[in-house]
């Protein structure tokens, strides 16, 4: 298992956070940890993949028991805070689903996830559209315009359309 994932569920890490602070203050505390920077880097560079994270969360949840405080409440709160700055589908799914839960056993991570979800929604929305250059000849009337197809539907770009590489695509 990846060292960071091992660390954030360890007793050492959970105890190092002290008593649970209220959700806003807890979020700030989690952001300040060394583990936060490490996790964000590893998730960003792909050492921690979506599949790894999905399986990891699923393993943690096996410890869930109705009526007892969830032992990995702080671990899930930590993941929520790390994912709030990610635009990935998994990040949105994680934050959205976790913040909808109605479980008193996991109050910390649910309340932190609600804040992280709001933070995540403030991120600039990256919308991409894949254009495939058409192999067919464009109709005569479109010869003066760039002609591409989006998926199977041909699209005629407005005159003057300039294609640029998106800065984040590099």
């Amino acid at each position: 298992m990846i060292e960071t994932l091992k660390r954030i569920k360890s007793e050492d890490f959970i105890i190092s956070l002290g008593y649970n602070l209220p959700p806003h203050a807890m979020r700030k505390l989690l952001i300040r940890t060394d583990e936060h920077e490490r996790f964000c880097q590893e998730y960003g560079f792909g050492s921690i993949t979506d599949d790894i994270l999905r399986n990891y969360v699923s393993e943690l949840m096996q410890e869930f028991s109705v009526g007892s405080k969830f032992p990995y409440d702080a671990t899930l709160a930590f993941i929520a805070v790390c994912l709030e700055s990610s635009s990935s589908t998994l990040a949105k799914e994680f934050l959205s689903d976790l913040s909808k839960l109605k479980l008193s056993e996991m109050s910390l991570c649910i309340n932190v996830a609600k804040i992280s979800l709001m933070e995540n929604r403030k991120l600039p929305q990256l919308k991409s559209k894949e254009f495939i250059y058409s192999r067919e000849s464009p109709p005569e009337s479109h010869m003066d315009r760039p002609y591409v197809s989006a998926g199977s539907s041909p699209v005629v770009m407005p005159p003057g359309t300039v294609f640029k590489e998106h800065p984040l695509a590099a």
Partner: protein, 175 residues
Amino acid sequence: MFEHYLLIRTIKELKLDTRQGEPIENSIAPSVQDSQRKRDELIEREHPQWVRRKDTCGVYNCAGHVWAARRTAIYNTEEWDKIIEHDGYKEIQQEAVQPGDLALYLDESGEALHVGVIISIKLLTKGGQPQPSLLSKWDDSSGEFVHLYSDVHFRNLNIEYNIKYYTDREDWQND
């Protein structure tokens, strides 16, 4: 990712309102496990001056201790602000606090960290600043401790904090 758990609801709330009749969001905390007991004891060891009043327990947190008579937890700090406003609390100086008044701990950006009840006041030097002691339940799975106002667990997390004191004494007048 949590599909299965979306179908379960274990939150139990109490009917709890402010004095102005606005509902207060709350949730009764579940029972604690050995890992929380261990954490409670380890943190207690870092604060030798603390006096334990009550063993590790669930049900309520600091705000539930102060405003809900140990019956439920109030996690959301916006609810704390609402209670302070609706219940007629007034901010007072440390020199004026009396047992029964409240100490609200805030971080450097004004985010609430903790609230506790003042239970005694010591005057260590003549004419010096009074030193309030508090009774605190640190979170929804800690014990209750008596401690000096400056001897708080988040001091060890390098969190800068300020304290605001509040009273509900109607006869108290700010100078």
